[in-house]
Structures are given as C-alpha cells and as structure tokens.
Symmetry: none
Subunit: 212 residues, 4 copies
C-alpha cells in the first residue's frame, strides 16, 4: 500500500504552463474558434476538465496565451534601446537582429499572427498587444530616433514613421511567414532581407557626420 514511485502528479507546478503551451499550438493551427478545448487538454496531457481548473473560459486561456508570449520576451529589447548609447546605425542593426531572433526562437511570431487574426473577435487582446507591444517597442525606437534627430544625426521627419521605415520589412516578413509559408510559400531570409534593407535605408536616414 505504500506508494513507492508517485509517478502521477509529477510536475504539478507546470500544468498551467503546459496547458498554455498546448493552447498556443492549437490556437495557432486552428484559430480560436476552430480550437477545441478537448484537443488542447489532450495535447497538454491532461483531462478534459483540467484546463478549467486554471482558466475559467476558453477566452481566458486565449488571453493567457497572449500574455505569456509578451511578458518574458519584450523587456530585453526595450531595455536595450533605452540603455544604449553608441552609434545609431549600430543600434538599429542590433535591435533588428534582436527582434529577428525573437521571431525565430520564441512564440512571438505565432502570437502576433494570432492577435491579428482574432482582433475582431477579441478586441481586448488587440488592445493589450497594441498597448504593451506596439506602443512600447515602437516608442522605444522612436525615442532613439528623436534623440538622434536632436543631435543632428538623423534627418528630420516624424520619428514614428522613421521607425516604421526601419522595421516594417521585418514585421511584414514575420506575418508573411506565419500566413503563407504554411501553404508552401518560400519564407524570406529575414536576416538577409534586413541587412539589405538597412544598407539601403540607413544611408538615407542618417545624416553625414558633419565635415570639419
């Protein structure tokens, strides 16, 4: 009667995380409406009722998926931008690499796609994404640009638009990957694309260090 090896209830601590992970997979594959709670549970290796122990509704689970993807991944980039104090063209290239890397290694790409896809159904998610991701990230970049303009290193113009000029190929490439690669389209080589793009755009954006 002595339970020798308590196989069950292993990693009880990680169950919500397991469920969120499974949910991301299923939501990504099927969309919110097409995702069945039972499949999420099955993929997480839990019973049909288990998700409801942690998430009151399917919507709450969806929200958790989005929140989970944002929180741990965003801060480093913002940090980088805010604390940086070197040549501007280097920080642009660095940030771009950072974001590209996140898009490759984390679930951010899939979640962007999910948020866009379900923005009509879940305006709240779109709002969260807008406020926590877009505003902050674009803001950090715009601030950088603004400071550069004040120092005369960047040509005049709306800083937010300049920011878009810099990173839009990257974001579009991610959306393209999530949308069209599953149906067989050739994905862009994002680092290469961004390298060429920055080589093209940065000369026009950065003003000549004044000649003495």
């Amino acid at each position: 009667m002595t339970t020798a090896t308590p196989k069950w209830r292993r990693q009880k601590e990680t169950r919500p995380a397991d469920i969120v992970r499974a949910a991301l997979d299923v939501f990504s594959e099927k969309g919110f409406a097409g995702a069945r709670m039972e499949e999420i549970a099955a993929r997480a290796g839990v019973s049909k009722g288990a998700p409801y122990l942690y998430f009151p509704t399917k919507e709450d689970l969806f929200a958790a998926v989005v929140r989970e993807a944002v929180e741990p991944n965003l801060d480093p980039i913002i940090q980088l931008a805010q604390s940086y104090d070197g040549p501007l063209d280097q920080i642009f290239r660095l940030m771009t690499q950072q974001v590209a890397s996140l898009a490759e290694t984390t679930s951010l790409g899939r979640v962007v796609k999910l948020v866009i896809s379900e923005s009509q159904t879940f305006p709240e998610m779109a709002r969260i994404w807008h406020d926590t991701v877009i505003t902050r990230a674009l803001g950090a970049l715009a601030t950088l640009i603004e400071r550069g303009q004040q120092r005369g290193e960047i040509r005049p113009g709306d800083p937010r638009s300049h920011a878009i000029s810099i990173i839009s190929p990257l974001l579009l490439g991610v959306i393209f990957r999530e949308t069209f690669v599953p149906i067989g389209a050739k994905p862009f080589d994002l680092p290469a694309l961004m390298q060429q793009h920055l080589d093209t755009v940065l000369p026009g954006l950065l003003l000549e260090k004044q000649t003495p």
Copy 2:
C-alpha cells in the same frame, strides 16, 4: 395564412452581389467562424435561405468574397508597372499612391486582413491570395527593379527584397489599420508615411545618374 407582408421583393439582378457585399461586412466584423449566415442574409435584405441559392456553403461564399475583392482591383496596378517607361523614382511613387488609394477606396484592405486571419482555416484562400496578389504584384515591382539594375539605375541586391523595402510600410500600415484602428488606435496617415519613407529610402536605392 398569417403572413401579412409580401414574402419577397423583386429578384434583383444584384442579389448575389448584395450578398457578397453583406458577407464581406459580416466576415470582416466577426471573422469567418463568428459570422452567422442568417446575419449576412439579413444585412443583404434577403431571407435566410437565399444565400444558398447562389453559394452552396458558407465557405463558398467566403471564397466569393475574396475573389470579388481581388479580380477587379489588381489588374490596373500590374498594368501600370508593366507598361511604364519613365524615371524609376516616379513609378515607385506612383505605384505606392495607387496601392494606397486602392487600400482606401476598395475592400482590398479588409480582405487582406480576412485572408491573413483565416489563412489557417482556409489555406486555399491564402494560396489564391499568394498566387494572384502577392506573387503578381511583388513580381511586377521586382521586374521593374531588375530592369533598373540592368540599366545601372538601381543598386545591386535581391530585387524582391528591394521591393519589400519600398512597399512594406504601406502594407504594414494597412494591416495596422485593419487590426488596431477598430480598437481605437490612431491610423497612420499612409500617404504621408509613404512620402517620408520614399524620401528616405529612394536615395539609397537609386544610383546617381553619373554626370558626364
């Protein structure tokens, strides 16, 4: 016996078009899964069964919405690119304006968003969009760029990537508008954004006509 009002009006020639229009509205607002056929019918001013006279299933109706948006709007732009034979910076500005205009005046923007949103559920739609819109439009632009490179007017590099460098802010702006403006975000002023973007990027893209 108990029906006081006449059950139907004239069978307009425009019935299917009305239904497709209503369907675009409802699909845009609710997504495919969230759209109810009955609501589409109601908005088109027809009975619940009427859409099925023209479209066998909800999916077919969705496909019609996508097709309808693509067919009449795409050719003019492609034409423009193919028949153009003037200074390159002008055609880039012109095409950009054209696309921006289409995005403002037609349903293209909403349909892009729809195709992205439902690409998991309807890979076929994504495929159609990819093959008929992206490939052709991007191809036309890339061809233009390639010819410019051969004439020594455009800096070397992957033409498709250059094309992305040019139009990605516009496309991203459209996606942004469809995704975040409904929840209160301030839309980009696309013409202004693109003007500043082209002012920034074109100098880096176009090689100096060398002075003799």
Copy 3:
C-alpha cells in the same frame, strides 16, 4: 411573330399523369421523405412549381401515386375470381398467374413496397391499401374458398387463412424483390416458385373428388 410550331404545351393533358409517374419513380427510389419535389418535377420534365398546380401538397401527390396504381389494376382480378365457375385448382393457378403478371408488368409491386414503407408516416395510405386491395382481393379469394368448402371440395378451416396459405409466397416474393434485389440479392423466379408451391399445397387443400 407567328408561332409556327407550337412545340410547347404539347400533351398538356398528360401532365398530371407524367408527374405521378415521375413521382412513383422518385418515391420508389428515395422513399417519401427522401424524395424531393424538385426532382420529381425535373423527371416529369416540368417546372418546379408545376406539380402544385395539380397536387396541393407532397402528400397529396403521394396519395395519387398509390391510388393510380391500385385502381386500374385490381378490378380485373377481382372480376376473374367472382365470375369464375370452373375447377378450383385451376382458378387458384390462374389467379396466381394473374397476380404474378401484374407484379411483373405494372407498378403494383413498387407501390406495395411504398405503402409498407410509409405506413407509419401515412396511415391513411395504409388504410386505403388495406381496404381496397387486401380486403377485396383476399376477400374474393376467401369467398371462392368458402364456396368450395360448401361444395365439399376444400378442406375445412378458416377461409382467409387458406387464402394466405395459397398466395403468401407470391406476396412475400414481391416484397423480397422490392427490398433485397436492389442490393444484389437473387430474385425468386415467382412463376416457378408458385408452381412448386401450388403443387405442394393444393393436394392438401383440395379434398379428393370422391370416387364413385
């Protein structure tokens, strides 16, 4: 402007009959519920609304199908039985042949099957069939038997049961044909079956004409 050859409105007279014929076909193939009015109309070569010019509802059309099959086919047999005045074994063989022939050449078999199939849904049809076909035909046969019993030519016993003893293989054979032959079963050779059956049963039914 002069209509030379009035192709249309040919045989207007036969339209209800055409429709009933088509209805029998479709009802037989699909059952009442599975039959679509539009298909009946199409098979009859008329418009979707035409059947309603002659039959107020689908049920009425069904009733017409049944009525149509019964009326012209039954009387001859009843007549035969009632007017016959020869040796009994011959009339039994003759009636059997007659019925077998009807089952082969007319729609009776299909309608029997239809009435049985839809008897739950249309008790009224079952009632009509019971009262006009079964009661009358079985009654005619029973009367014949009864008279034979009174003349000492047929063994005692319930005349209706004797009638069943005589014709049940035939009726069952028809039901079998309508039910199982469509799925590939080998049909009974009804004439042969009945010949052997009568050879077997009649000796037991008919009393020996006593030898003087």
Copy 4:
C-alpha cells in the same frame, strides 16, 4: 447560475442500451427520416447531445438498432435447426413456433418492418439483414429440407422454395401486423394460422413413410 435542477444523473452502464431502445421505438413509429434525435434522447431520458456520445450519427444509431435486434435472437433458431435430428414434420412445427414466439416477444418484427421500410435509404442495413438473417435462416431450413429429400422423406423440388412454402405465411403475417394493425386491421392469429397452414401443406410436402 440559473440552473436550479441538477443537469444529469448517474451515468448508468445502460445508457447506450437505453438509447438504442428508445431509438427502436421512435424509428418504428416515425420511420428513419421522421424520427428526431431529440425525441429519441428525450425518450431515453438523456439530453440532446447524449446519443452522440455513443453513436456518431443518426445512421449509426439506426444501424445499432438493427444489429441489436438481430444478434441475440437469431442464433437459437439456427442452432435448433442444425442440431435437430428427429421427425421432420415436428421440426417444422417447432421452428415455426419458435419464430412466431420471437416475433411476439422480441423486437424482431418491428425491426424487419424497419429494414424493409428503409431499405432504399439504407441499402447497407438491407444487406446486413439479408446476409445475416435471411440467408442463414432460410439456409438452415433449406438444409433440413435437403437432407430430408436425400432420405426420401420430402418430395423433390427446390429446397429454398419449399422453405418459402412453409414459412411465408408467418413472415407475411408479421409484416401485415407491423403494417396494418396500427391502422386498425385485425391481426392474424399467427399460431392458429400456421397450425392450419402446416396441416395443409405438410401432407403435400412429406412423402409417405413407405409401408414395409
């Protein structure tokens, strides 16, 4: 929130069987097309969705009804015929009684009627019935007859036809009961009918045990 009554009771082991029973009732009364899944559920005392926990579709439920009726009821009779080794007239009377008894006490009669009724809609059911019931039962009887013929106890002739000669009144009686008794027809007294029938037909079928 607003549900006052408990939503469900015990999950009995008998759930599927209850549902099949209810389905038989409703299918018998209304036919397949006329039966509503919701009514079947209600009669089984379960919710609208419950039948789908056990039977993927209405058709599968129908198939289960047929299967359920056949499996437990058929073997005893076949057994009887195959293991029997006494006087032939007795086995014919015995089998007849057995079948009549089954027809009275089990659902076989209703299911026969159902299979015949829906044979157009569900050829597969007809096929199952034909292969498992008709072929086997008729085959067992025919084998018996064949052996009798080899021993010179039964008159020559097609054994299968002889089998029909013997049992057709019984089968027809069952069909009659299921079809016309519900609309008020007087049912045949099957045991009496068969007694008289066998008294009539067996003398013609069995050859005289030759006198020594």
